[in-house]
């Protein structure tokens, strides 16, 4: 239990440090005495550009990493990602449709987000339908269904992108790059209404994911109603991935490497793994985004570029150093 408290404390410390430090960093030189004065440029930049951006990164990264941990456990596959079921593709397709038909032009985020959530929701219903229709749906079936849904969504997106106007086609490309932008606090609030309850449910049911990570037969022999748990898990994980993708666009890698690195460092017990993934996943994305918006300023790199370039080598290092320790 003391180990648990130490790890959790460390993760909380890291994400609070990120929350404090990241908004202080940026290309615009700041006179820090002015940020509490309303109407100044400094206040605008700090409260309405940098802080919401860091908050969004914390929330989005946390959600993606938690969903990654969960899907890897449920599918007993270390390579599963939050998008394995195709939910993020559904969200992307919704957004692309919205951009194509101009729903995204007027209401800044409203139309886009609604369409995107709808896309994620439809895919989620298909997946949950699949997992409750048969007596026993294997994770293999879900994996195949996810791949199929992914390719279908990509095909429709490519089709829409090629028939729409050049301007909208560019907007689609930009959206599909995936980025953490400054959003309104209202949007952040709405996103947390999806992300926080879903994460809480996942953490609350941690012991069930431990059993399911071993196998469905094992879990039911240990007294778990596996069908109900799987449905709950897939639904919560998809809500996490879908609602985040609806705002940020697809961000690769965060849902794969953070879960992995943490599982190697602190072990596979979901009671500690899930809270840690939420906190560290958020911190990781916020750091990546801070680097992305400062390193080549005034140009901004999409956060997905940084997650892959920064996370990839780190992940390889963790893999190799761990391998030598074990052998």
């Amino acid at each position: 239990m003391s180990r648990y408290a130490t790890i959790l404390g460390l993760c909380i410390f890291i994400s609070i440090a990120v929350l404090i430090i990241c908004p202080l960093i940026g290309p615009t030189p700041m006179d820090w005495s002015k940020i509490s004065t309303e109407g100044t440029l400094e206040a605008q930049i700090f409260w309405f550009a940098r802080l919401p951006r860091v908050l969004l990164a914390l929330l989005a990264g946390g959600a993606l990493a938690s969903a990654g941990v969960l899907f890897q456990a449920l599918m007993r596959d270390a390579l599963a990602t939050p998008d394995t079921l195709g939910v993020s593709s559904g969200a992307s397709l919704g957004a692309v449709v919205a951009i194509c038909f101009g729903w995204a032009d007027t209401a800044r985020l409203g139309g886009l987000w609604t369409a995107s959530l709808l896309g994620a929701g439809i895919v989620l219903l298909i997946v949950v339908g699949l997992s409750s229709s048969g007596r026993n749906v294997s994770s293999f079936t879900l994996l195949l269904a996810g791949i199929t849904i992914n390719s279908m969504c990509v095909a429709i997106m490519l089709f829409l992108q090629s028939v729409t106007s050049l301007g909208r086609s560019l907007a689609i490309t930009r959206w599909l790059m995936g980025s953490v932008d400054a959003v309104e606090y209202r949007t952040l609030g709405l996103l947390s209404l999806f992300v926080l309850p879903a994460s809480m449910v996942l953490i609350w049911r941690s012991r069930d994911w431990n059993l399911l990570a071993v196998g469905q037969g094992w879990a039911s022999a240990k007294g778990l109603d596996t069908r109900r748990s799987l449905r709950l898990g897939y639904a919560a994980g998809s809500i996490l991935a879908g609602s985040v993708t609806a705002i940020t666009g697809p961000i690769g890698f965060a849902g794969l490497i953070v879960p992995h690195a943490l599982r190697m460092l602190i072990g596979p017990d979901h009671r500690i793994l899930l809270p840690a993934a939420f906190l560290i996943g958020g911190a990781f994305l916020a750091i990546c985004d801070t680097i992305g918006r400062t390193i080549f300023s005034p140009a901004e790199l999409p956060v997905g570029v940084i997650t892959a370039l920064l996370g990839g080598p780190f992940f390889l290092w963790v893999l190799t150093s761990r391998a030598t320790i074990r052998s």
């Binding site: 012991r207 094992w218 039911s220 778990l224 109603d225 072990g267 596979p268 017990d269 074990r326």
Partner: protein, 260 residues
């Protein structure tokens, strides 16, 4: 005495194939029942049906006075623990964590309590797993894994223990220790049903043997009653030689290929 399990006319059909068919069995507390039979005879299916993990297409299985199909999973896991053969774990749970998972049906809180640790400790000791306790399950040998899985089942504090080929990977000493431990549990009133291919292990320890063939019960009886060369020929399809050691313990010898 009222049986723990009353199996009547039980059948499991999958993809048009009858895996077990019209099985009638009464199993009592304090028994160590060994299920023997050729590959595909339905031994594992019978075990899974007893655990409520396999839905019956005909007949019914009563645990106590309630149909297994109507007992909810958690309650079932408090009464019946099942050890399936050789599980591969995709993630690196420690031996202690694997055994602690056996406490799942008893745990309502998020953290394990004093009682849970005590039960895990006891189970690890019984199965001679204390030195393994902090090892990564995936790095254990097959026999060690099997012992850990049995320990995890014991941590469930069941009154019925179902073992599928649990002795297969164990060395002779640990086979003996496993069955000694099982025997002690039967003295405490456990019902133990074990599937194995090892006739000699069965005849040394079983209070009764159930012989399955093609999904049906071919014979039920004590090792002494069933150690009968013509019965074994009809069930296994090969001529086996039965010897009696000390005039009581039957030993089954496999003949050389020429005499088969």
């Amino acid at each position: 005495m009222k049986p723990v399990y009353k199996v009547s006319g039980a059948g499991v059909t999958k993809a048009g194939r009858k895996l077990i068919d019209a099985v009638d069995l009464d199993l009592y507390a304090g028994e160590l029942v060994v299920v023997l039979g050729p590959n595909g005879a339905g031994k594992s299916t019978l075990l899974r049906a007893l655990a409520g993990l396999e839905a019956l297409s005909t007949g019914e299985i009563l645990l106590g006075s309630e149909a297994v199909s109507r007992i909810d999973r958690k309650e079932m896991a408090r009464q019946v623990a099942m050890v399936e053969p050789m599980l591969d774990f995709p993630f690196g749970y420690s031996v202690e964590q694997v055994v602690m998972m056996g406490r799942a049906p008893h745990m309502d809180s998020w953290f394990e309590g004093v009682e849970d640790w005590a039960q895990v400790d006891a189970a690890l000791t019984v199965m001679d797993c204390q030195p393994l306790r902090h090892r990564d399950y995936r790095n254990l040998s097959s026999g060690e894994k099997q012992r850990v899985l049995v320990a995890s089942a014991l941590a469930q504090q069941p009154c019925v223990l179902l073992l599928d080929e649990s002795a297969a990977f164990l060395d002779v000493r640990h086979q003996l220790e496993l069955f000694e431990a099982l025997k002690r549990l039967t003295l405490k009133g456990y019902l133990i049903v074990a599937v194995t291919h090892d006739w000699n292990l069965a005849s040394a320890w079983a209070s009764r043997i159930v012989l399955l063939k093609d999904g049906q019960v071919a014979a039920v009886g004590t090792p002494l009653e069933l150690a009968n060369e013509s019965l074994l020929l009809s069930v296994f399809g090969v001529a086996l030689k039965v010897l009696h050691v000390d005039g009581r313990l039957p030993v089954v010898l496999q003949p050389g290929a020429s005499s088969a």
